[in-house]
Symmetry: C2
Subunit: 326 residues, 2 copies
Amino acid sequence: MLPRIALLGLDWGTSSLRGYLIGERGAVLAERSAKAGILHIQNGAFAEALLELAGDWLATDENLPIVASGMIGSRQGWAEAPYVEIPAGAGDLTLHRYDGFDRPVYIVPGLARRDQDGVPDVMRGEETQIVGAHISDAHGHNGDNPRTDPKKELFLLPGSHSKWALVMDRRITWFATFMTGELFAALKDHTILGRMMTDSNGNTGDDKAAFARGVKYGHAKGATLQRLFSARTLALFGELPQTGVAAYLSGLLIGAEIAEARALVHDLSTTITIIGDPDLGQRYLTALSLCGQSACLAPDNAVARGHWRIAAANGLLSVAAACATP
Amino acid sequence: MLPRIALLGLDWGTSSLRGYLIGERGAVLAERSAKAGILHIQNGAFAEALLELAGDWLATDENLPIVASGMIGSRQGWAEAPYVEIPAGAGDLTLHRYDGFDRPVYIVPGLARRDQDGVPDVMRGEETQIVGAHISDAHGHNGDNPRTDPKKELFLLPGSHSKWALVMDRRITWFATFMTGELFAALKDHTILGRMMTDSNGNTGDDKAAFARGVKYGHAKGATLQRLFSARTLALFGELPQTGVAAYLSGLLIGAEIAEARALVHDLSTTITIIGDPDLGQRYLTALSLCGQSACLAPDNAVARGHWRIAAANGLLSVAAACATP
């Protein structure tokens, strides 16, 4: 018997579009991706991009629901799904229904948080990954269900804009954005720090010792702005090989990010779960370990499981499929 | 009677060359500048650039000593003057004599410092400005002279690479570099933060309220990497005009620099003396004031007075001129 298909999940970000054909229990039955992120879409041709990726899938079942997360729901996307304030779990992420396609497209809203100064932070797309990765009990799929033992989990989603998020009892209760990846690229390509980054063969290298040194120095308390310059002076004094400067700077920024996040979260007794690209995740695992912090990598396809859980919490799945939600 | 000329001082940096004709008591008799920083010099034509700027001055007195400070003494300059370790005052800055010109050129060495982790920091050029700006007693010109009341002074030299320096009894005892200016430029021009920085007329603006808001938020304890993203989110939520984003980001980084420097220096009971460009100096004055820190601007031509003091301490001036050093 062929597995029953319950949902088409779309992870539609700035640079890429990923589609997941999701079956009962949230299992990923098929997966495809295209370089059709919202920055690549010309003249609002979102429908065409979706049909190109998944037209055949949609043709097999005219009632197959579509749930999309990521920048597709931003002002620059297909339809804007306003931010939802934290705390928020699957049940609080009320899907934004868009009717401009040949069937409804349900868009996951992003999340917003205000700090004590009233300054906002936002995420869009990561909330779905986190909802998909958090531990859920066997029977519930709705973050609003009361539980007797609230479970606290800490998630880290590294990238251009690295996100840290706390989950209490399956609801995101806090998060913060660190521009680590984008800052690294800007410093490397557009400041004096990049000038000593290659050897005579043009290699930027992947020097593990330099990375570790950077992590430790960056993680030491405070003075992040001031410590940046060490990526130049150490090379200037021949105390860091030019092939190690990029790895050192990457470590320095990641170490600083970990220190800042630790100070913001306070309690880091929880193991950190890293969601995202395995290579970058491995880099962060190494860095966290150097900082005395245990961490693990989330299973693949957290985003698809997030689509599934949010769809279920929004009553979008058939009763049979929803009850089988993991 | 024409004033007697005692010294040609050169402030020769990366982007520009400034020449000062210095008379008795360190007074600046004439001043010229050219876009002849070491990055603009082709094929090592330093002598030609100097003659073009000051050939007529040199022709009037074949014994006129030349003292040069700045990146001219770096590996990429005319002749490398190795770094001197702190603590260092005028008397410790042993001039590096270069004989490849038609008369000796005396180059001021840069300074190096090691932090507790052994990581170096450096300055080259700023040491001369600081030596020129620090308070000296009426009779001494040599930083090694014992004094009965050691005077502590804190200097700030804002710029692409902002420097903070402590002076105790006319010797630089500590300094640190903050890449604030270069970081601002890289973030503005090469990250997502720059995308919301203009209004429809292309203005980047000079919004005083936005600057002040940035300073206060950036100065609040820690989390510099995390706070950067506020330059985007505030604009995204319409809580900062797009014409204010550049000023906000500038304030945010300057506020963070002040917080980091305060934490490194510990005792900030001393008034801070700002040396450098008046517009940028004014910006830092405003920021320091917002952070509850008093500050003042150094008189002009600190660098020329530094050339004078260092030349005197190195025995380069005639006895009459040296005794008249301020």
